[in-house]
C-alpha cells in the first residue's frame, strides 16, 4: 500500500462512516466511479469498522492476567542500546547548554518553546537549474514532501517532469539534528550529487538534488552550528 493510495482510501472511509444506508452507497458510487479496487478496499474497511470483540477495543495490558504480566516483567531482558557508535560519540561532545554565544556574540541556539504556532525553519533548497532558477524553498522540521502538487510541503511548480505527489522526501530529524533525502513513491527518479538515489541517504550542505529537469541545492540552517532547542 502506498501512502498516497492509503490517503485516498482513508479519506473516503472517514467520510463514508458519517453517512448511513443509501446516502453512504451513493457517496461511494460517486467517489469510487468505476475504480473497483478502491471500492473493495473501502467496503472491506467499512465491514471491519467498530467490530465487536476486536482486540483493539481495549489494551494489551488490561487483557492479560496478572501472572502473565508479572512473568512478562520478570523475564524481560533489556536490549542493548541500539544507538550507532557515531551518534553516541557525537552526543558526548554535545554541549548541554540552552543558548550559547559565538565569538562575535550572536546566538546560535534558541529555545523551541517560544515559537507558538510558528514552524521554525531548518534549511532551504535553492533552485540552481530549471524553470525555477534562483527560487528558494523552505525546509521545515521532520518530513517535507517534494512534488508539483500544492499539497506538498515543498511544491515545485512548472517542471512537468516532477511528479505531482511525493517525488522525494527531505527529512529533518530533530533528535539527532540531521537531514535525510529519500526517494518518493512516484515514478520519477531522484539524483543526489549526480548519483541515482536508491534509498534514504544523508543530506549535507551544498548537496545537489535533481528531480525532473530541476536541480536544487541544499542549504542547512540547523546542523553543527545551530539547533532549535
Amino acid at each position: 500500500m502506498t501512502p498516497e493510495r492509503w490517503k485516498q482510501i482513508d479519506s473516503i472511509f472517514r467520510e463514508a462512516v458519517r453517512l448511513e444506508g443509501e446516502k453512504r452507497l451513493s457517496y461511494l458510487d460517486k467517489v469510487c466511479q468505476g475504480d473497483s479496487d478502491l471500492r473493495l478496499e473501502v467496503e472491506t474497511l467499512l465491514a471491519n469498522d467498530q467490530k465487536t470483540g476486536s482486540p483493539l477495543e481495549g489494551s494489551a495490558l488490561s487483557a492479560l492476567n496478572t501472572e502473565q504480566l508479572d512473568s512478562a516483567m520478570a523475564e524481560f531482558q533489556q536490549p542493548a542500546d541500539p544507538q550507532p557508535e557515531e551518534v553516541q560519540k557525537r552526543v558526548q561532545t554535545e554541549i548541554p547548554v540552552r543558548v550559547e554565544l559565538t565569538d562575535d556574540g550572536r546566538t546560535h541556539g534558541a529555545d523551541l518553546h517560544g515559537f507558538g504556532d510558528i514552524d521554525p525553519i531548518v534549511g532551504w533548497l535553492v533552485c540552481v537549474k530549471g524553470c525555477n532558477f534562483g527560487r528558494d524553498y523552505r525546509v521545515l522540521s521532520e518530513r517535507n514532501r517534494v512534488g508539483r502538487d500544492s499539497q506538498m510541503e515543498i511544491c515545485i511548480e512548472g517542471d512537468r517532469r516532477i511528479s505531482r505527489d511525493t517525488h522525494a522526501i527531505i527529512t529533518y530529524e530533530p533528535r539527532h539534528n540531521r537531514f535525510w533525502l529519500s526517494p518518493g513513491l512516484a515514478r520519477g527518479v531522484v539524483y543526489l550529487n549526480g548519483q541515482l538515489l536508491g534509498a534514504t541517504a544523508p543530506l549535507k550542505a551544498y548537496d545537489t538534488i535533481e528531480l525532473g529537469e530541476t536541480g536544487l541545492q541544499f542549504i542547512p540552517f540547523c546542523g553543527e552550528r545551530f539547533k532549535w532547542r
Binding site: 472511509f13 472491506t44 476486536s54 492479560l64 496478572t66 533489556q78 539527532h176
Partner: protein, 193 residues
C-alpha cells in the same frame, strides 16, 4: 518512592532533556520505568485477590505519579506516556514471542497450564499479530500507528493519546477509527476464525 527521591528527580530531568537527547530513553529512563512498573505489577498481584486483570492506567499512570508527582507540564507528561508505552510494548512483545515459540517448539510440554491466557483475555498470538500489523501501518501512516500504539500498548485514553501525538481529540478519534478498521481487517486476514 516519593516524587522527591533521587530516581524521580532523574526521571524529571531526563524527560526535560529527552527532546534533545533521545538516547537517554534507553540509557536511563527505560531501566527506571521498567523497575517501577514491575514493582507495581507485583504489588497488585499480591494485594488484589479478586482482580485477575490489571487496569493499564494502574501501571502507566501510577508510574507517572510516583516518578514525576504532580508535575503539570504536559510536555513532560506526553514524553513520559509515550516512553512508558514503548516500554510496555517491548516487554509484552518479548514475552509473547518467547511464550508462543515455546508452545510451538519442542518445549511444548514444559509450558504449564497456568501460562495459558485466561479465557476472556487476549491470546498472545494476537498481541504479536497486532504488533506486526502496526509495523506495516507505520510504513504508510505513522500518525495512526502512533495513536494505536499509545492506546493499545500504553493503555492511554483517546484524549491522552491525542495529546501525546499532538492532534485534536476529534482528529485522533477519526484516525483511530480508520486505523482500527484497517487493523481488524489485517488481523482477520492473518488468523481467520
Amino acid at each position: 518512592m516519593n516524587p522527591y527521591s533521587e530516581e524521580s528527580l532523574q526521571v524529571t530531568q531526563v524527560l526535560r532533556e529527552l527532546h534533545d537527547r533521545p538516547e537517554l530513553f534507553n540509557e536511563r529512563l527505560f531501566p527506571i520505568l521498567y523497575q517501577v512498573m514491575r514493582q507495581m505489577a507485583r504489588r497488585h498481584l499480591q494485594g488484589e485477590q479478586h482482580a485477575r486483570t490489571l487496569q493499564p492506567t494502574v501501571l502507566v499512570h501510577e508510574a507517572y505519579m510516583r516518578l514525576v508527582g504532580s508535575d503539570q507540564d504536559w510536555q513532560n507528561r506526553s514524553h513520559f506516556l509515550a516512553c512508558a508505552s514503548n516500554v510496555m510494548r517491548q516487554i509484552l512483545i518479548d514475552y509473547a514471542r518467547k511464550r508462543t515459540s515455546a508452545k510451538r517448539g519442542s518445549g511444548a510440554a514444559k509450558v504449564p497450564l497456568t501460562d495459558q491466557p485466561v479465557p476472556e483475555g487476549l491470546p498472545l498470538d494476537t498481541i504479536l499479530a497486532v504488533n506486526e500489523a502496526l509495523n506495516r501501518l507505520k510504513e504508510f501512516d505513522p500518525l495512526k500507528e502512533e495513536l494505536v500504539k499509545l492506546k493499545f500498548f500504553g493503555g492511554l485514553t483517546i484524549a491522552e493519546a491525542a495529546k501525546v501525538a499532538g492532534v485534536s481529540l476529534t482528529t485522533a478519534k477519526e484516525h483511530l477509527r480508520a486505523a482500527e478498521a484497517w487493523m481488524n481487517r489485517e488481523l482477520s486476514a492473518a488468523a481467520p476464525r
